[in-house]
Every structure is written in structure tokens, then in C-alpha cells.
Symmetry: C4
Subunit: 208 residues, 4 copies
């Protein structure tokens, strides 16, 4: 139960930061710094309890890599999505006046962007937070959080920059994305998480 | 005595940075980066002496969690508020020409924003700086300082973004907030610190 | 083989971030933060497998310092250049509409800027990632990635700020630099990598 | 000799970054991020050889605290000033067209700003890089470098934000400050370094 609460709190903080910095008068060009840092602080705070995923695609990747029990996968996903929905409610209350306009996405570029960004994120997570070679480091949160910052700067204009199905759900509820595009995030992000797990196993053959 | 001096210095640096970067020609959109980093550097510098709270709500949370002696709580609070007042005096001297206009706050959104931001801050502090599981890490200052940066980007436009009763006192003296709104910070921030301590105990039951 | 894949992935992420944040509506003035952080995250993710060079000049420096086998040098260079070319293809696809205008360079200032920036980068890499005195630290990725950020802010306007022959190849394919100027990067960057290795040996005489 | 070379290189990189990001079309509002990070990377790269001072006021503070031999003080100062002069020459060459206008300073506010900023810097250096309690941490460079970033954001508009007599020399040669104001930096910065050493001894009485 405590792991699920930690996943709920972390995803809440991440999605609330996205909504508050992107809608209306938010953080402007600096929003990716705020968003990536929101993930960083929650990874540092909750990683020792739940692993600090806050992202169904990361949970999938960590499970495939063998560092998340099968029984935890669905409860993690539910906690993450509930955290995103709670955050969306808070954002809609606090940003009452501001109206978000859903971005227009082109399917192929958006799928590619989500795939690349989520692959990078899960690849970094597995290597800095689950590898025997890097155990005990103090940089895992910085590396993970700033991967989202980098990918939001690089690819946010193409796909909206979710790299996370729970975030995609939250920003759809906040009217930043269209319901009709939600499948792009689910398909692109989960496929990327799975490929990242395979890649990790290939480059770390001795690390079971 | 040395602990109180460290709390005074750290709160002074934090509140001086707020005043100098927010009033008049300051750091503009980058002010949250400067402010969060000010907290980070003081946590790294003074944490080994006083714990590096610089915030009455954090002192409350650390005391409830059992890592601050009851005899230290009030002297910490006094040191923090004196540091904030000293910083406000320096800012008023250095920014003599610039006039700060107190923000207009709506009570419910401001209370909610202060509560969320301070909860996140105290939750991060307790997990990265007082948990047995994360002992010895080098990221505690980065995580704590950047929590204030994230929350200032996300919620600063709603509540002014103090997340700290000593900061609230300092920015009121600098005319950035109205005296009539000071209770919002005291109530919201201290309640959030208390809830963060309860949350920490729930998710770390074995960590006494 | 796994080391070469890691070098390919890291250089891909670095060069893709450069193209996506610099061409058209990218990250504007914040591009150096995104680019330096892209290197940082890949160093943290892949350093334990390949050393995390992502840069032929760094591979040269690490080989001269004695921490990269001679048999790996050419395969590393090929992996890095292939990663850069793959990234350029993705950027050209995603930025289809935007047209990059090659920068006009003055030879002497550009050579000097590339030399200084790449010297700083290789000097930092050797000291934070291959020195016995700093072994086991958690800051190597931050130091290495932010060296590129600093040098891009300081010298990007003079030379385009590659500090990396693979990056130079990638940005030439993306039309950000002219083919006729490619030699500036090859000559300036490789010479700087070699001097950094000599400097490291001079200041760390006991570290073989 | 190797220690002096490291001090020369680090101060060169710091002062070159200042000149290139502040004069003409530099890094604009982001200059403090570049400058603080320049110090950070050089502290991480050279700290294990020379201590990574790059600042006569820091050398004074570290000597008073007992972690720098008396015989090294003057050679360190000379290396730092030579590094600053070399950087100023490079900046004047690369920024040939751009003209820097010396800032107009008011003596009392500038002295106070330099004193506060340099006190914070030396206080952080002594606590994160010379204290027994924090030995072995990986955050010393981040804390030290970002102190300069914070103080440049907060106080740069008042004093020019040198916090370092070698930097003050360099920016005077680059025409960013007037020769007649150089004494402000010497007096304010060295006095602050001395007070920081006394403060460190008071709050760490058992740490000889």
C-alpha cells in the first residue's frame, strides 16, 4: 500500500507541474526545466520506497528487466493514473480562467517522437537505477528527471512530450491533448519501454 | 548556538535571493532557478551542522518525524525569522528605488497552493535527508532546493510561492505580500509540514 | 559489440537534441542547457558500459591517457559517426519544414573556440571519469555534460559549438554548418583532445 | 607546479566564460547559469589536484581555515590572476567588434554586495570541500558553482558580481568595470573570505 501511495504522490506532483507550467501564464520556455525537475525530486524522495516510476511505461520496462514484481504492475499503473487525474483536477481548479488548446499532432512524427523520448527515459532509468554497475550512485534522480527535460525541449513540439501514458491521460483531461490521440502515447510509450528493457539486457548480459 | 547561526545565515541567503531576484530588475523568469538554488547551496553548506531547515514548516516536520529536539524548535524558528528580517533590510537598502507591489491573492487557491508546495518540500526533505534508506547520499540539497524551484514555477503565480513562514514574513516586510495574508502562509505551510511528517511515517514504518 | 551500441545510442541522443533544439522553433536561448544535459544523461546511462565518450576527440584523449584499448578506437569513432548520421536523418524528417542556414565562420576564431571548448571537455572527462583520485564519484556526468553547456553558451556563437567531430558531421548533414568547414572541427577538436591527455598526465604524474 | 597550472586553467575557463557570455551577444539572462557552471566543472575537474579555488578570496579563506599551505598562497594568487589575464586576451580577440561599457557602481551598495556574495561563496567552499563532516560527497562542485550563479542573479546588478579579485581583474581588463573600482573587489572580497573562515571555525569547533 505504501508503495502505491508513493507512486500516486509522485505522479501527482509531476502532472500538476506540467499543467501549471504549460497552461496560460506558466513557466513559458522554462517549463521543461520545471517538469524534468519535478520528476527528479520525486525520484529522489520516493525511489527508496516504490522505485520511483511514476510512469506506466517505466513500470513495464522495470518489470521486463526483472526489478518489479508482476503483482505490482497493475496496482502501480492504477496509482499512477489516479495521481494524474487528481493533479488534473487541481490544475483545472487553479487555472480556472485559462483555456488550454489541444495541440494538433501528425501521427507518424508524434509516434516517432514519443517512441524516442520514452526509449531514452526507460534506457536511462534501467541503467542508472537498476544496474549492478551503478548501484549506490547519487545521480539517478538527476539523470532520470533531466532525460524528461531534454526530451521535452527536443521533442515536445512534435508530440506534446508526454513520454508517459499517465501523463498523457492527465494532459488529455486538462484539454492539452485530444482524446483521439491518446492511443499514440499508449502505443508509442509502452513499445519504447519494452525495447529499452531488451536493450538493457543486451548491453548488460551479466546483470540478471 | 552554532546551529542557530547556521539557520540564520541560510535563511538570510534564501530570503535575500528572493527579494533581489523578484523586485524590480531582478532575474525575471529565471528567479525560481536562483531561489531554489539558494536553498540548495545553503542545505549543502549548513546541513551537517543544523540540518539545514531554514523554514519553520520544515523544522515542524523534522521535529514530528523525530529528528529535531523539542528544545530546538522555537530557537530555530526565531533564528529563521531573524534571518528573514535581516535579509529584508538588506534588500530594502539595495533596491531602494524599486517599488514592490503586493500580489492580490485569492484565499482558497492560495491556501491550496501553499499547502501542496510545502507538503512536497517537507516530504522531500524527510525522505532525502532523514531516511535511513537514503543515508549518505549526495543529492539531498539538489532535491530539496529544486523542490522549491519546481513549486515556485508551478504555484508561484497562485500564492506568491513562499512555502515557508519565515520567507512569508520576509516578503511581507519587503512589500511583496500584504500583512493581511500572512495567516495563509502560517496555516497552509505548518499544516502541510505536519501532514508530510505523518505521510513519511506511513511510508517508512520501520524507520523510527 | 554492446559498447559500440551504447556509443551509437548516446551520440544519437546528443545529435538529435542539437538538431531539434537549434533548428526552427527549438529551445531558443535554452538550447545549450538541453544539449549539455543530453550528454549528461547519456554519460550516466552508458558510462558503465562504454565509458560514455560519444565524441571521437574524447575517445582519442581517453586512449592517449591509457583508458581505452587501441582496438576500440576506430570502432568507437564509427559508432559515434553512425549515431550522428542516424540522428541527422531523424531531425531532417521531424523538422521537414524548417530550413537551417549554415553559419558563416571565420577560420582563426572558430579554430580557437573549438580548440578551447574541446580541451575543456576532454580535460574534465579525464579528471572526473578516469582519475584514481576521483573514482566512485556521482558527479562525472554533471561535470562532463555541463562543460558542453558552458562552452556552447560561451563559444557557440564563434564556432557553432560542436567540440566533437561526430557532432560536426551531424550538424553538417543537417545544413547547420558548411562541408567546407568540417576540417576546422576535425583539426581543432582532435588536437585539443590530444593536448588534454598530455595535460592530464602532467598534473597527475602518479596516476598511470 | 601542477597545482598552479590547474589554478591557471580553472580561472581561465571561468573568466573566459564571463567575458564571452556577458559582452555583446552572449548568453543574455542565462549568463549566470553559464558562469556558475563554469566554476562547477573546473572545481570537479581540478579539485583533487589544487583544491579548485580559482579565486584569491577563497585561497585566503582556505589558508585561514588551515587547508592551504602558506607557501602556496602567493603562487595561487599569481596563477589565478595570470589565468584571468589570459582569458581577457582571448575574449578581447574573439569579441573584437563588441564594445563593453563599464558599469557605474555606487560604492556602499557594491561593497556590501561583494561582501555578501563572497562570504556566501567562501562559507559554502569551506563547509562542502574542507569539512570532515561532509568529506567524500559528490556535490561540492555543484554547491560551489551554483553559489556564484545565485549571487550573480541576486547581486550582479549591484556590484557586477565578481566575488573574486581575479575575476575583478579580468573584467576590468575587458572594460566591464573601471580601474578606479578595482579596490571595491579587493577589499570586499578578501574581507568576506576572512570572515567566512572565522565563521567556519565557530560553527565547526571540533574540526581542526
Amino acid at each position: 500500500m505504501k508503495k502505491y501511495l508513493v507512486e500516486f504522490i509522485g505522479t501527482f506532483v509531476l502532472v500538476m507541474t506540467i499543467g501549471m507550467t504549460v497552461i496560460g501564464t506558466g513557466a513559458g520556455a522554462l517549463a521543461p526545466l520545471a517538469i524534468g525537475s519535478a520528476l527528479m525530486i520525486m525520484v529522489y524522495a520516493g525511489g527508496h520506497v516504490s522505485g520511483g516510476h511514476y510512469n506506466p511505461a517505466v513500470t513495464l520496462a522495470v518489470w521486463l528487466r526483472g526489478r518489479c514484481s508482476a503483482a505490482d504492475v497493475v496496482p502501480y499503473w492504477i496509482s499512477q493514473i489516479l495521481g494524474a487525474l487528481a493533479a488534473a483536477s487541481v490544475v483545472l481548479f487553479l487555472k480556472g480562467d485559462a483555456v488550454a488548446t489541444p495541440a494538433d499532432l501528425k501521427v507518424a512524427p508524434a509516434l516517432l517522437a514519443e517512441f524516442i523520448g520514452t526509449f531514452a527515459l526507460a534506457y536511462v532509468v534501467l541503467n542508472v537505477a537498476t544496474s549492478k554497475n551503478t548501484a549506490g550512485n547519487s545521480n539517478y534522480g538527476l539523470a532520470i528527471g533531466f532525460t524528461v527535460m531534454v526530451m521535452a525541449f527536443a521533442l515536445g513540439g512534435v508530440s506534446g512530450g508526454a513520454f508517459n501514458p499517465a501523463v498523457a491521460t492527465g494532459i488529455t483531461v486538462m484539454h492539452l491533448e485530444k482524446v483521439a490521440n491518446l492511443w499514440i502515447y499508449l502505443a508509442g510509450d509502452l513499445a519504447a519501454g519494452a525495447l529499452a528493457a531488451l536493450t538493457f539486457k543486451f548491453i548488460n548480459p551479466e546483470d540478471k
